[in-house]
């Protein structure tokens, strides 16, 4: 009987949650809080390109992106073009990699982040809405609120090596969108560590 109940709940779960973000469709709107307590609403950024990055610095893949400063440079470069960059930290409180807002603010400073905000998503609401499966897993939303790109940060799924030498899909997508061209690569297989969603 118990097994049956578990089975049924599994089915209903699978049906109800299967609504991840899809390229070419409107990006799911969300309201969240950043590490400074500020409310972040995706639809408030309409008219701007928004980058969502599933983030967990303890993951060696993310770590490799940030330790070289490559992502920070990209954030700065895109910020100058008016692009919004949101870090989505979906690590649950039951994991060692969970950051309290205070710890997150310190990490933000230490890493010299040039992003717009760091969303405290420890409930996993935003991450699950987008189907973020790894860190890093990036999403680029165009100025109309349509998802233009989803997948890996670049074509170098590695914990080593200089990310600057890789083909960065975020930069490429933003450049194409700004130039009004068709985005060539709209979807790639995300690589990285599994997102540590809380229980």
């Amino acid at each position: 009987m118990k097994r049956a109940i578990a089975f049924l709940s599994l089915i209903s779960f699978a049906v109800s949650v299967f609504a991840a973000a899809e390229v070419g469709k409107p990006a799911p709107d969300f309201t969240a809080t950043d590490i400074n307590g500020k409310t972040i609403k995706l639809s408030d950024y309409k008219g701007k390109i928004v980058v969502l990055e599933s983030y967990n610095l303890d993951c060696p893949f993310c770590h490799n992106q940030y330790r070289s400063g490559a992502v920070q440079e990209l954030q700065k470069e895109l910020a100058a073009k008016g692009v919004v960059w949101l870090l989505v930290d979906s690590v649950g409180k039951n994991f060692p990699s969970y950051r309290t807002p205070e710890a997150a603010r310190k990490e933000w400073a230490a890493q010299k982040m040039n992003a717009t905000a760091w969303i405290d998503d420890h409930t996993g609401a935003v991450g699950k809405k987008y189907g973020m499966r790894t860190t890093p897993h990036v999403f680029v939303v165009d100025a109309n609120g349509t998802l233009a790109y989803e997948g890996a940060m670049d074509n170098q799924p590695s914990t080593e090596g200089d990310p600057r030498k890789a083909r960065n899909y975020v930069r490429e997508t933003v450049q194409k969108l700004m130039a009004g061209e068709k985005v060539e690569v709209t979807q790639t297989r995300p690589y990285g560590c599994g997102v540590k969603y809380g229980s």
Partner: protein
């Protein structure tokens, strides 16, 4: 948790050489909480280089060679052995939805070349974190990556140092990148000499997917893509259990003779397909690639065979799997490579299997419940009454007897477990209750229970000294230990035979598992059965909660004879299955047994003179009864043929639904016509089936609902345990009945499974099943 978090950088490897030919060292380069020095680093803008720290990795690595000496031109097997701490894992060549495969960068002397890594079959880890399954392919505890090293024919003699840098991602709650330098020495010369590690490597080679003997499998696109995903069907004829490397050409559509399979029967428990990394794999997945300069343009997988696997039913008995392929760019692939996994039933993960501790808890409770089964209660209750007499005088003795009794129960359960394991190993499909499908066993059990009833009535006595069972206390204090052990054994025989169907629910899951787990579960049931006795022997003061001994005990004993007699009759009635009308002869034989027992009790046990004559007459009665009623009448050697056994229910449901015989084709056909389907797995000897499940289906409201919804009702008669039904039950991790499946009208939805139903649960399930 530290307020400050910083990252270390990859610090240069610090070698910690161990002695010996084979050695290794470990080092990890990431992730610690760092003290205030980090702040200084950050202020100086040196965060990139903050706080180098050696962080003990959770994986130990070493390099083994199958030979310590080899000739030029030889191929020597090297093995990178990774030992993970408990709960940590590393990744297969295709890590799956996240993670990173382990990499080996060889530093080989001239003339030695390394081949491809041969990866042992990984474990599949499926996490439900969002709507989709996140599947990774991992190794826990230990794995050995085997690599053939080829020695050039002109290699000069002498010692060679084989070195490699192994790097891996290890994950538990967090992921850590770690690496280690390993090395080993090989002497090149005139002879080939295996090393001490050779046999170990050989063992691990058995865990590699087989490169030959793979079943002929076919793959085709089930239909056009919807969005960026497309269902892929992989089909083969099951042959033997194992894991096989395969390369499959994907046909554009179903071949003409494709199995008409559409019903999801299980989520990848019976068989599976683990996809290789996509051929145009990123550099990180290739062997020993230099990662510092990845070439632009590579690195993006054009597609991904996702982790989730659905098994589809197949009337032709083939394995049919459905995988989802997600495309990121380019064309749909024309072929896939990977590992076909075919499990035997006992290897298959049972559907919805519960954690072991939960199963052990169920097993314990199940064992406890056995104590109040009608056929166990008289025996066990009497034992406890024995305590009532004994506890005051001999508390220490009572404890010893208690323990011996527990031992008797445990040994019997372990024997039962061993029988199950043995039968299963011999290829016999066994369910719990298998005894009851055996007519000889049923005959023997009806005789035994009749004798117990007569014994309880006081017709004759049992015991070493032929004393009254009412004086069991005295008996056990004298002849105690053997008696107590036998009592444990006896309780087990009674309990498992009478209560198999109920017991099965608690421990049915174990029959698919390892022999060790079967024995563990069996032992736990035994402990449950023995628990009340053990507790009372340890805490005799609790006996005050039991009634005081007295004359009522004798009356109680006699009263308990009646359920026993009832049980004997029920067992007799089971013989209908095997002998039809002839079962009646069994009851006649029981009368002979009764007479023989009475003569034995009256003239042998209680008699003064001519006891030998009593013996003789008693034996004569038994012999006549046997020849007349069993040999001539029942004819146990000639059971009815199976075909004459019509499923009983259709004729018994005048007012309602017609139950048809179950077959997987019948299920598929009914679903193809758009009907919800109910399958009732039942057996004549299953008490719960007949007292709970059957009346539920005969409930007016349930019957009306089934009619209104156009439900097709199928009856799977497990009475004689036909192999097809045993296999179907096993698919769902069941070893016994009752079991009920409700297939929704939507053919893509998996069936709902029930071990127990009430009118309301089945009605709800039917409503759900009727939705589209």
């Amino acid at each position: 948790m530290s307020a400050l978090r910083q990252k270390s950088v990859s610090n240069p490897p610090r070698l910690r050489h161990l002695t010996g030919v084979i050695f290794g060292k470990r080092k990890a380069t990431v992730l610690m909480r760092f003290p205030a020095i980090c702040r200084v680093g950050a202020i100086l803008g040196l965060f990139v280089l903050c706080c180098p720290a050696v962080h003990a990795a959770h994986t130990q690595v070493r390099l083994l060679l199958a030979s310590e000496a080899a000739k030029p031109g030889d191929t020597v097997l090297a093995a990178v052995d990774l030992k993970m701490d408990p709960e940590w894992h590393t990744y297969w060549k295709n890590p799956g939805a996240s993670g990173m495969s382990t990499k080996i960068e060889w530093q080989l002397p001239k003339g030695v070349t390394a081949g491809q890594i041969q990866w042992p079959v990984p474990e599949k880890l499926t996490e439900k974190v969002t709507g989709e399954d996140f599947t990774t392919y991992i190794y826990t505890n230990e794995t050995m990556l085997v690599v053939p090293l080829t020695l050039a024919p002109d290699l000069p003699a002498g010692p060679l140092e084989i070195k490699a840098k192994v790097s891996w991602l290890e994950c538990k709650l967090e992921c850590i990148k770690a690496d280690g330098e390993v090395k080993a020495t090989l002497t090149v010369g005139q002879e080939t000499r295996p090393s001490v590690a050779a046999s170990l490597i050989k063992e691990w080679q058995k865990k590699l997917p087989q490169t030959t003997g793979a079943p002929t499998a076919r793959a085709w696109w089930e239909k056009a893509a919807s969005g960026d995903t497309r269902p892929l069907i992989i089909e083969w004829t099951p042959n033997q259990a194992g894991a096989f490397d395969v390369k499959l050409t994907i046909l554009p559509g179903p071949p003409k003779d494709a199995s008409a399979a559409s019903v999801v029967i299980n989520q990848g428990a019976i068989a599976d397909f683990y996809p290789d990394p996509v051929p145009e794999a990123p550099p990180s997945l290739a062997l020993g690639t230099d990662l510092s300069s990845p070439s632009v343009g590579s690195g993006a997988d054009p597609y991904e065979v996702q982790g989730a696997t659905e098994s589809l039913s197949s009337p032709s008995g083939k394995v049919v799997l459905r995988k989802q392929v997600k495309k990121y760019s380019g064309e749909w692939p024309r072929e896939v490579t990977g590992v076909l996994i075919e499990r035997t039933a006992n290897q298959s993960a049972s559907a919805g299997s519960e954690p072991l501790w939960k199963m052990l808890l169920f097993a314990f409770i199940g064992g406890l419940i056995l104590n109040v089964m009608p056929c166990v209660l008289p025996v066990i209750a009497l034992k406890i009454l024995g305590f009532v007499n004994q506890s005051k005088e001999h508390p220490g003795r009572v404890r010893v007897l208690g323990l011996v009794y527990v031992l008797g129960v445990l040994v019997s359960f372990l024997i039962l477990g061993a029988i199950v394991i043995g039968l299963r190993a011999a290829g016999s499909s066994v369910g719990l209750g298998f005894q009851l499908a055996n007519p000889y066993f049923v005959v023997a059990m009806s005789c035994l229970t009749t004798l117990i009833a007569l014994n309880l009535f006081g017709v004759f006595e049992v015991g070493v000294g032929g004393r009254a069972v009412g004086a069991a206390a005295e008996l056990s204090s004298r002849h105690g230990t053997a008696g107590a052990f036998f009592n444990g054994f006896f309780a087990t025989v009674l309990a498992t035979s009478c209560s198999a169907p109920i017991l099965a629910q608690a421990i049915g899951f174990a029959f698919d598992k390892d022999p060790a787990i079967i024995l563990l579960i069996m032992a736990t049931v035994g402990i449950g059965l023995a628990a009340p006795y053990l507790v009372l022997s340890w805490q005799p003061s609790w006996l005050r909660f039991l009634p005081k001994p007295g004359l009522w005990m004798d009356k109680f004993k006699v009263a308990m004879g009646f359920p026993m007699l009832g049980w004997a009759l029920w067992l007799c009635s089971l013989l209908v299955i095997h002998y039809g009308e002839r079962w009646w002869w069994m009851t006649i034989f029981l009368v002979f047994i009764g007479v023989a027992a009475w003569i034995y009790g009256e003239f042998v046990q209680r008699g003064q003179k001519l006891r030998w004559l009593g013996w003789l007459v008693s034996a004569l009665v038994l012999a006549i009864g046997y020849v007349y009623a069993i040999d001539r009448g029942l004819q146990p050697g000639q059971p009815l043929v199976q075909s004459s056994l019509a499923a009983e229910r259709p004729s018994e449901s005048p007012k309602g639904i017609t139950w048809q015989d179950w077959s997987s084709e019948a299920v598929a056909a009914a679903r193809a016509d758009g009907h919800p389907v109910v399958v009732d797995f039942t057996a004549k000897w299953c008490l719960t089936c007949n007292t709970v499940i059957k009346p539920t289906f005969e409930n007016d409201a349930v019957q009306k609902k089934m009619k209104d919804l156009g439900v097709v009702a199928l009856l799977a008669n497990y009475t004689l345990q036909p192999p097809a039904i045993t296999a179907e039950l096993r698919r769902y991790g069941r070893a016994a009945v009752p079991f009920v499946l409700v297939y929704p009208r939507d053919t893509n939805a998996p069936p709902m499974a029930f071990d127990w139903i009430s009118p309301s649960t089945i009605s709800n399930a039917l409503d759900k099943a009727a939705q589209n």
